[in-house]
Symmetry: none
Subunit: 202 residues, 4 copies
């Protein structure tokens, strides 16, 4: 067996874990199966990680960072509405493009909520903060009340989560395409009404 650095090995395990979690859920993600997926003996997993929880923490980090990339990957010069749209679309596309990452993300959020209430909140908060920051930057020229930013963030989160749940349940790619459109239009309508109602903010 080729000797590779522990860091690389850890990566292997993280990737294997993502796959196993996506296919069999968090409960089905046993160390045995993860090791098997990584084509490594079980003991090797514990050589790289002190505990399963440590591994899952890394998986968590891996998934959430990919998630945040999807959020943050928007044009910095766009205005508030455009940015909001870009974010929503980015997240939805993240789900569709990488179903196993998306499924895993959902599983992990759920798991974190159960096992580590505060941890889950932290992660959720981080993701939301990323959105808020992007929105704030987009509104730099026309400062908007923080409350408004919070609300937009919440709506994006709702629409994204709702879309994700639906897509991951049905797995219907063409329906998903249509639903992305609808979700976008929902955001658009609400944003138009919401921003109009506080014109001073623009």
């Amino acid at each position: 067996m080729a000797r590779i650095s522990a860091a690389e090995r850890r990566n292997d395990f993280v990737r294997a874990a993502v796959e196993v979690i996506a296919n069999r859920g968090i409960d089905g993600a046993t160390t045995r199966r993860i090791a098997e997926q990584a084509q490594a003996p079980l003991a090797t997993l514990h050589y790289c990680y002190d505990s399963k929880e440590d591994l899952l923490a890394d998986v968590f980090e891996f998934v959430t960072s990919r998630f945040r990339e999807a959020i943050a990957d928007s044009d910095p010069h766009a205005d508030l509405a455009v940015t909001a749209h870009a974010i929503l679309r980015g997240v939805m596309e993240f789900y569709v493009e990488s179903a196993s990452l998306g499924t895993t993300a959902l599983e992990l959020i759920n798991w974190a909520r159960r096992q580590h209430g505060e941890h889950a909140i932290t992660v959720y908060d981080k993701a939301m903060e990323t959105v808020r920051t992007a929105l704030r930057n987009a509104a730099a020229d026309h400062p908007v009340e923080p409350e408004t930013i919070d609300q937009i963030t919440y709506v994006i989160a709702c629409l994204a989560d709702g879309f994700g749940l639906n897509w991951l349940t049905y797995g219907d790619r063409s329906a998903a395409a249509e639903q992305m459109q609808i979700s976008a239009s929902v955001l658009e309508s609400w944003l138009a009404a919401r921003l109009e109602s506080s014109p001073a903010a623009l």
Copy 2:
């Protein structure tokens, strides 16, 4: 031990399971713990149910029927928009009022998706169909294209799921109250725009 009918016994187990699932998640819902919560011997559980899966199926049925009640509990004389609102609010209130049922619902949806893709779809479909039917009835006087009904259903589902995930993660009751408002306003704006754009449908 008091003689109890088998049916009542099963009910006890279902209720116990809901409680255990809410508190410890699907993974933590072992037969032992469910039996303990039901204050019954472990063997009795398997006397009432052939397998854990059978019990969970009943739990599923129990939770989803409560869920559907929350959906269906709307004024039959209201119009389309009002009905849509009532449904969305009903579901959101269902989550807030009965956190343990809400949490369990989420856990089960997740579990079903994983273990029984088709089963999950069936359940989801049933819930959606309940919504669709209610909407169709509300639009009886002014028939609406089926496609429009589907879209409204999808949006309600998104907003409800998004709200639920958020609420169950944060558990912040006052934030939830505000978010219910926002979710309602999102639905309102979109409905207004959506229905206006196909006036013939009204």
Copy 3:
């Protein structure tokens, strides 16, 4: 496999554990080996005991109660010196007659000291208290200072432990017989000198 009550099964496991501990030490007393010695599947052990520690606690109780029986089994009408002798002899005979119980006792004391400092002290104290009580009773007619009782107790403990260690190491039965005589004579000389020096106590 005959169905027997859990209480009886626990007895089986306790006896098996004594045997395994005597033969292979506390470290060698794995649940697997104990179950094997009891001719039961490993899982059955955990049906009877929640944890290995619980089993060991029972073993502890079993051994120490046998130990205390050996101590307490003396003529209630004897005087102080005679009682002290009887106790010492009782303990030494306990070691010799049941080597595996004796070895296990030593292993457990050691283990308890390591794992549960306070627990070990408690057990030690209990044994010592049994000795003290017996001595006090024997001296009922001629009250003796508590300090004197404590000292006699300590000396008996020293001589008994010293004998035990030696016997369990060498396992030489004829040497043991001789050593019991010597130990007795040591106690005798000291008691004579000790009690003479505080005649008032007699």
Copy 4:
């Protein structure tokens, strides 16, 4: 990494092992922990020692030699009784002064008895022989029957072991001081009676 001779390395491991054994017992003395205590990579331990057992053998040798030093460190011109006292006191002080060495000694004796009955006997014999030799030398002017020397040796061993067990269990330094006195007086009384009864030996 500083270049250190293999011998020094081995010494480090021996010392580390003493510490670990004292703190966590023989079972808790894993190669990992010993290596960690020695601030050396795990593999280095096996580079210096073929097996854990080899290391423990060295530890054994280290501890017993310190032990023998404590025994042998007595005035060569003293008479039999004085020498016996000096030895007993030396051993007891060894226990008190160096609790971690004392604890380790006890652990190792126990371990050796279990794993290597004969080895343990050898070690015990060596220690006893050291005592015997010292006693014999002290009695050089007034030859004493070998049997008497053996008996004194046994009594010293009993009192020392009994004291050690007690002290290592309670860890009460002031009680230990008092108990040393008592142990000494026990030896004294018995020696007086014993040696008087065979005056020819003097």
